[in-house]
């Protein structure tokens, strides 16, 4: 359809046919407000229940521990603000990492305005948090720890089991942003001792604008979205049945095909890295391939500004990214790469390629070709400018 080479799957993913079909059904045919009493709305309720079960199954949780939200950002906001406000009588200290998504970081910054104290623990040069530093940061008044399962920029998959153990033993609520991880790696909320977990549909071939928050039975957090009695009085707002049904389908397909997708992506990833590292002055950011989210290749090229490289790739209809974009669309430096200890220039020269099972070998060789040419061209120009 589009003649683009899409390699920015950490930003978003396309909806697959089954997902689109079920969404259309609930948009056009069974369009009732799911909360309505009449039988025309019965199928909507069933569809929502089905999606709830699919997501619960994927996390090895119970269906009544799954709550639908408008996306990963809302889930993060709800988990952090909700847990904080509910438990503030017990304490006002929260621990998170320096490489979290802005939904987590800015929720924490907001809580600081309300008198909460936040400790932002550091990461090593591969993006891993230091478990000892985490342990040492725990105080008597610590009520919440939020550590993401897999980082969106460099793909670092944190040792969530160990964080879970630590939190459980200390009686502290453990939230993890699993937005990047869900659908790609297996998650077991009980084994990992997770209390709150955020996911977002558009990262696993679902629609944008829908996500979920897993809340362990027995963990109480304040509501974020007050309103009607939806989600058992915990999250108001008319059910987005089309999107919820779509998300359930997307989750189902992702779980069924996780292994086969992984095989495809790893193969492509290996070729890509091998070829790109042939370029002089190239360096991979983040951990080795087996500790990293599949498909994530974060790579820098000395003397090549990422903004320029991205524009050239764009001219060649190749979609990749770097850092995060501000509202106006200009590139901002990556807080994740700085936290990992990269210098400003190392960070400014890095781009993020995130592959999916829909990419092909042909596309891999094409992006390699374009990058090689672009890197040479940019470096030649720079030399010219310097002289």
């Amino acid at each position: 359809m589009n003649n683009i080479i899409y390699m920015d799957n950490s930003a978003t993913t396309p909806m697959i046919k089954e997902v689109r079909d079920i969404m259309a059904y609930y948009e056009e045919i069974k369009y009732a407000n799911a909360s309505s009493a009449y039988n025309f709305a019965l199928e909507n309720k069933i569809a929502i229940d089905n999606s709830r079960r699919e997501i619960a199954k994927a996390l090895k949780a119970s269906p009544n521990e799954i709550f639908f939200t408008s996306g990963g950002t809302e889930s993060d906001n709800w988990a952090i603000k909700g847990a904080a406000i509910k438990n503030m009588a017990r304490g006002k200290h929260i621990i998170t990492s320096q490489i979290e998504h802005h939904a987590v970081l800015n929720s924490c910054k907001f809580l600081e305005k309300l008198g909460f104290e936040i400790t932002y623990i550091s990461v090593d040069n591969e993006g891993f948090i230091d478990l000892n530093e985490l342990k040492k940061s725990i105080r008597k008044d610590t009520i919440l720890i939020s550590i993401m399962m897999a980082n969106n920029e460099v793909g670092t998959v944190e040792e969530i089991n160990m964080v879970g153990d630590l939190c459980r033993n200390s009686g502290i609520i453990f939230h993890t942003d699993a937005v990047q991880a869900f659908g790609k790696i297996p998650i077991d909320v009980n084994e990992m001792k997770i209390d709150l977990l955020s996911i977002s549909a558009h990262k696993f071939n679902g629609p944008k604008g829908i996500g979920a928050l897993y809340i362990r039975k027995g963990i109480l957090i304040e509501n974020l979205i007050h309103g009607g009695s939806q989600e058992r009085d915990r999250r108001g707002g008319t059910y987005n049945t089309p999107a919820i049904a779509a998300m359930g389908m997307a989750a189902k397909v992702s779980m069924e095909q996780m292994k086969s997708h992984e095989e495809i992506v790893l193969k492509l990833q290996e070729i890509l890295i091998k070829e790109l590292l042939k370029i002089e002055g190239s360096y991979i950011n983040g951990p080795s391939i087996n500790k990293r989210l599949i498909g994530n290749v974060n790579i820098g090229f000395r003397g090549v500004l990422n903004e320029t490289l991205l524009m050239i790739l764009d001219d060649n209809n190749i979609c990749v990214s770097a850092g995060s974009a501000c509202q106006a669309g200009a590139l901002e430096p990556s807080h994740v790469l700085s936290a990992m200890g990269l210098s400003e220039s190392e960070a400014r020269n890095s781009i993020r390629i995130s592959l999916s099972y829909l990419n092909t070998e042909k596309e891999i060789y094409e992006i390699v070709r374009v990058i090689k040419e672009a890197v040479n061209k940019i470096r030649r120009n720079y030399k010219k400018e310097v002289i």
Binding site: A37, N39, L42, D49, N64, L220, R232
Partner: protein
């Protein structure tokens, strides 16, 4: 108000396997079935979250799913106000009076077979149905109730209050089967609930802790008091009469060197009377609010088999009519822990003769 007898039936659905299969059976028998769950109680958010249990949110969802599968309409009706007035408040009051009520009796009498039947008639149905294990038939121009096929699961004990009108308009398809057969049917037709555990608690009391429930509802009216022996001598302190029932041995916290039992509760003096095991065996009782099914009133003495609680085995007893519709029940053998507030049910073999509320011992 009777609709000319059509084949439309409203079935009360708890989300459990019995009412779910009953709905299926009725549909198979050619009835036009409508599934309704009665919302009778709303707990705290924490209580609502518990898995299973009648009327919890997950059980409503189970009922809804079953109706979706069977392609029958489904509704939820709000009976919370009347349930509080007719079931919960009397339940609390009777405990405060030192009795041990069985709220299912009141629920069946006023809610399931009265209010719910009226609602069904408003919807144009001629019948209501439930998943109860009991059989209803008509013999010699009179509606009678018999025990179910599955004697272990038989629920006629809680149904003795049914009137002729109610029996005429009620269907209980599970009565002809035993529990295993019902579960098999559920499995065969693909209902998730086939393996669902039976609900064994009072639907409005999470975790069966009626003491805490009543304490919360009466806000400070439950007071500690004295354990006394038969002669009135104080032998200890109790935590509130609502926590005790006749025949209770455990949880008394009285170290007297031998097992002792609650033999009486005196709400006026706020005392719990303690005695020996033989003190809790009595031979007769007086029942009030008595209902008979095979006939209208008891005019002369009648031998029946009778049981004084749900789990008891029915044994021989003589019924004698007293004034005001009350009945004296004299057992052939002494019965263990006859308890005021509980129900006494009468049988003639399989036939449910009737029953009443135990008012006093004599």
């Amino acid at each position: 108000m009777i609709n000319e007898k059509n084949k439309k039936v409203v079935i009360g659905m708890s989300g459990g396997v019995d009412s779910s299969v009953a709905a299926y059976l009725l549909k198979e028998q050619g009835y036009e079935v409508i599934g309704i769950t009665m919302s009778v109680f709303r707990g705290t958010p924490e209580e609502e979250e518990r898995e299973g249990g009648c009327c919890s949110l997950s059980s409503v969802e189970d009922a809804r799913r079953v109706c979706y599968k069977l392609s029958i309409p489904f509704h939820v009706v709000n009976f919370r106000e009347i349930f509080k007035t007719k079931v919960i408040d009397p339940f609390i009051n009777e405990y405060m009076e030192g009795k041990t009520p069985n709220p299912c009796i009141a629920c069946n009498k006023y809610i399931k077979f009265d209010e719910f039947l009226k609602k069904a008639e408003e919807l144009g149905a001629s019948y209501i149905a439930t998943g109860h294990y009991a059989t209803i038939s008509k013999e010699n121009g009179r509606y009678i109730m018999k025990k179910s096929e599955d004697s272990k699961k038989d629920q006629t004990y809680v149904l003795y209050n049914m009137t002729q009108y109610q029996l005429e308009h009620t269907l209980m398809p599970c009565g002809a089967y035993n529990k295993n057969e019902i579960r098999e049917i559920a499995k065969k037709i693909g209902l998730d609930v086939h393996s669902k555990k039976d609900s064994e608690e009072i639907c409005f009391i999470p975790d069966n802790d009626h003491g805490s429930f009543i304490k919360k509802a009466t806000k400070g009216k439950i007071r500690e008091g004295n354990f006394v022996d038969k002669s009135g001598k104080v032998i200890g302190r109790h935590k509130g009469i609502v926590y005790y029932t006749i025949g209770q041995r455990k949880g008394l916290n009285l170290a007297l060197g031998r097992p002792v039992y609650v033999i009486d509760i005196n709400p006026y003096k706020n005392e719990v009377v303690i005695g020996e095991e033989e003190d809790i065996f009595k031979k007769s009782l007086i029942a009030k609010d008595v209902n008979f099914i095979p006939f209208e009133t008891l005019t002369k003495p009648l031998w029946v088999t009778s049981k004084i609680r749900y789990q008891a085995k029915a044994t021989d007893a003589l019924l004698e009519p007293l004034d005001n519709g009350r009945v004296k029940v004299t057992f052939k053998e002494k019965q263990r822990a006859i308890t005021k507030g509980q129900s006494v049910a009468f049988y003639n073999e399989d036939i449910v003769v009737g029953g009443g509320i135990i008012e006093e011992l004599c």
